[in-house]
């Protein structure tokens, strides 16, 4: 019997997802259906729309069914919120961004989905380890760093590749990385 209260799948339907404010239309031709304990990498050239897709398509969709933590690409605004919230909750507020993120993840109690948008550029391998990513059911990561081997602790790995065409269309291609 499955005692985990959260959905067993992380899903996003195969369809077009227009994002008017960014002038982009994301075309997902195969549904995202990721079992628990999966790692999803978003990859593509700069400006292909990875962060836009996260903020305007994936996160709004996932939030209707799942609990999630989001560590954004640009921490300037988010770090003030994190700092204030940690202080309000009576926790010590670490100086460095990396240590603050670890404290934030520990404090939140969320262990379902964590989304890291190029966040790993702020942390070294030891600090990344302290985030305890394998403790989450799903990890979604945008990264240009060669750190993928860390997530092989997950039972499934997928890559969603962003291919921006001439104009507004961004084709999304899902590939299973492991197990093959």
């Amino acid at each position: 019997m499955d005692l985990n209260p959260w959905p067993i799948m992380f899903e996003l339907a195969a369809q077009s997802y227009p994002v008017a404010q960014a002038g982009l239309n994301f075309v997902l031709d195969r549904a995202l259906e990721l079992p628990r304990h999966s790692c999803l990498y978003l990859s593509g050239e700069n400006g292909a729309g990875k962060s836009t897709f996260l903020e305007h398509v994936l996160i709004p969709s996932l939030r209707t069914k799942h609990s999630l933590l989001y560590l954004a690409q640009d921490m300037d605004l988010q770090q003030n919120t994190i700092r204030t919230t940690l202080a309000l909750l009576g926790h010590d507020v670490p100086e460095s961004l990396a240590d603050m993120a670890v404290a934030w993840v520990r404090t939140s109690g969320c262990r379902e989905i964590i989304i890291l948008d190029e966040f790993d550029k702020y942390v070294n391998s030891e600090q990344l380890g302290a985030l305890n990513l394998p403790g989450f059911n799903w990890v979604v990561q945008v990264s240009h760093l060669p750190r993928r081997e860390r997530c092989t602790e997950f039972s499934h790995g997928f890559e969603l590749t962003f291919d921006r065409q001439e104009g507004a269309v961004v084709n999304l291609r899902l590939t299973q990385l492991w197990p093959l």
């Binding site: 593509g44 050239e45 700069n46 400006g47 962060s51 690409q73 640009d74 240009h144 760093l145």
Partner: protein, 133 residues
């Protein structure tokens, strides 16, 4: 955080920090603030196209992605900085770029500022890029 880095290393390096890339709202503002010729916009637009980045006149810099902003800022400075033996410190810049664009950006530094030395900020402080890559 970015001001701390600037304060700590700003005397020894020209710091390019992803948290502190621009002062102006648009690239045209930035060019005006830096006292450069208006024609620089089209030069940077041409350079950006090598990276697959399409510059749009009047577009807010904050509306470009993080990686695109890094590329635009570096190209702007490459065209404005004196062609001297500068020490440039890149802070989380290369990490925002795809492998193709990272390699292309380093090639452009080499072509446009051949006398400059590049360093990156690591957990141990600045390290020459050649030792880091």
């Amino acid at each position: 955080m970015s001001f701390a880095i600037l304060g700590e290393y700003g005397r020894d390096y020209c710091v390019i920090d992803t948290h502190n890339l621009f002062v102006g709202t648009t690239l045209e503002d930035e060019i005006l603030l830096l006292g450069a010729d208006d024609g620089l916009f089209s030069i940077i637009a041409q350079e950006c196209s090598r990276f697959g980045v399409q510059l749009e006149p009047g577009r807010k810099l904050s509306s470009y992605s993080g990686g695109e902003q890094s590329i635009i800022c570096c190209l702007l400075l490459m065209n404005l900085l004196p062609k001297e033996r500068l020490s440039i410190l890149l802070v989380h810049v290369l990490e925002t770029l795809s492998p193709r664009n990272r390699s292309l950006l380093l090639d452009r530094f080499d072509a446009l500022l051949p006398a400059a030395s590049l360093s990156v900020l690591t957990e141990n402080g600045p390290e020459p890029l050649a030792d880091h890559v």
